[in-house]
Amino acid sequence: MNDSEPTIIPVLKPRGKFNRDRKINTLLQYQVRHLLDIEHKQLTASHRTGTTLDPTPMSDKELDKYLKSWTEGRAAKYIEQMTVKLHEIHPAREEQTQTMAGAKRVSRATRRAKKKVQAKAQHSRKSGSKKNSKAKSNARPKSKSRST
């Protein structure tokens, strides 16, 4: 290899393979499943997307059936909605552009707000598990279910 001249390696881009209607694979099913769990157990009604079913009362079979109908396009839209929501509700949003070192210098008010949200989330998780431990265990992936 000549040190002064870079070696150019051509890489072909795939063409004509885009398919937003492809059924979601099990990796995406689990990503959606976890986000559904967060949406319906941890977010207040005003923060929910309004586009999904609550998985809490569903059996594993029902949830699998529900998710198997999802396409990659639909999953992507939902994941985007949820990612945006999580950005919106996070109290340390103003820290986004800071480095992690910068993030150490969080204001007292932000720390208080963060603690409040964490406490709320913890309370919500605790009460959720007390109210419906069966539903919670149903929300966990079965050992024999397909995974990715």
Partner: protein
């Protein structure tokens, strides 16, 4: 301290999805016998007893559909050939039989033995041969994505062998939390909001401060503002975006492998084109697990984690003590301080001076370099080998490779 380490400021990890070492890099043995790839004689029996040899016939897409099973019980079958006896030995003879169960078609089950000729993967094979390739890098668990990726983030999966991501309140901090606490910088770059991160728990607790997008990664490379540690995720779905159609780049079957090649090239190019960043950065390209696809090297035993998965959780009727690694995956380390053509021998015990790596090696390396001694770590991570000793050159390399993507 070697000059490469002295200059090192950034560690970047790109974790792709679901391909085995032999499937992606096995062909390289033909040109470099030091690489523990395929001779062409490796085989598995099919369900009718016929011998199925490895073949260089892998396609970018539409071949491994349905998705090969890589849940714990099936990986156990793939590794041990279905042998359940107490004194069983890993023989890597169950891949074809396992894939048969997905489609109940004998001919289709043979496709699991296919591998890519090197010329079909110009990006990964070029980086592997120009920099360092690991003969002995394994998935951390013989199981699926989430528990394996957890090892890259936490150095353990906290006893999980499946897809459960709810690690909240667990005893060991993630590598990002460790870095933050010590005043360092770290970030997970996911592709975009429509693909987002698989680190859902971190997304809930630490969003948005430890997260960025692929576009931000490119901008950070350009401006020289890359964090000290970066973990990059590919695009997990075909979806619409402002700039048009985005093709999944994760290489998860049945997503297009070529799209992943383009993605790896873009990550490499982003670092390479900023000379100062290039000289102060290492890039590790690694796959989370094998995705049910054939590899010929039996996973070795490893330091047991302090956790135990119940026989119900494993689905095999046996407990798992996290004392054996998962199937071997491609791992390539890129830096101008690494001699061209470095082959890291492995795994330990298989070859002289062999070394064994798994995803716990990632937080172990980052912690060792940036934080030094750190006790709040799993036994597996504490025992994991690290890889910065591969930066052995006294002078930075001046040769240069650029990937040029074209339509």
């Amino acid at each position: 301290m070697p000059p490469g380490l002295d200059r090192l400021r950034h560690i970047v990890v790109l974790m792709m999805e679901n391909r085995s070492f032999d499937h992606m890099l096995g062909s390289l043995k033909a040109t470099d016998p030091r690489i523990d790839g395929l001779t062409g004689s490796e085989s598995n029996p099919d369900t009718k007893g016929a011998t199925v040899r490895v073949q260089p016939k892998a396609l970018y897409q539409s071949q491994l559909d349905p998705d090969p099973n890589h849940h714990f019980p099936e990986v156990d079958r793939q590794i041990f050939g279905g042998n359940q006896s107490p004194d069983r030995v890993a023989n890597m003879q169950g891949f074809v039989a396992s894939y048969f169960n997905e489609f109940r078609n004998v001919k289709h089950s043979h496709l699991i033995m296919n591998y890519f000729p090197a010329q079909k993967l110009p990006v990964l094979t070029t980086l592997a041969t120009q920099f360092a390739v690991f003969n002995g890098w394994f998935a951390s668990i013989p199981g699926p994505t989430v528990c394996n990726r957890a090892f890259a983030h936490y150095g353990t999966s906290f006893g999980e062998v499946g897809m459960n991501v709810f690690y909240l309140g667990k005893k060991y901090p993630s590598i990002y939390q460790r870095m933050v606490k010590a005043g360092h910088t770290a970030k997970i770059y996911y592709y975009d909001q429509a693909s987002s991160t698989l680190e859902v728990v971190n997304l809930v607790t630490d969003e948005p401060k430890v997260f960025g997008t692929y576009d931000q990664f490119l901008a950070d490379c350009d401006s020289g503002n890359l964090p000290e540690y970066s973990f990059i995720e590919p695009n997990y779905s075909d979806h619409d975006a402002i700039n048009g159609e985005e093709l999944a780049s994760d290489q998860h079957p049945d997503h297009n492998v070529q799209a992943g090649e383009v993605y790896i090239a873009a990550i490499y190019n982003a670092i390479r084109k900023n000379q100062s960043l290039w000289e102060s950065t290492i890039l590790l390209i690694v796959y989370d697990e094998h995705g049910g696809i054939y590899d010929h090297v039996p996973p070795p035993a490893c330091t047991p984690d302090e956790f135990k998965a119940s026989s119900d959780a494993t689905g095999t009727g046996r407990e798992f003590l996290f004392d054996r690694l998962g199937v071997r995956v491609p791992a390539v380390l890129v830096s101008p301080w690494i001699p061209k053509g470095t082959v890291v021998p492995g795994p330990a015990g298989r070859v002289p001076d062999g070394r064994t790596f798994d995803h716990a090696s990632i937080p172990a390396t980052v912690t060792k370099f940036f934080l030094g001694p750190f006790d709040e770590r799993s036994p597996r991570e504490k025992a994991a080998d690290t890889f910065l000793d591969l930066l052995t050159l006294d002078k930075v390399r001046t040769d240069s490779i650029i990937f040029q993507t074209s339509l």
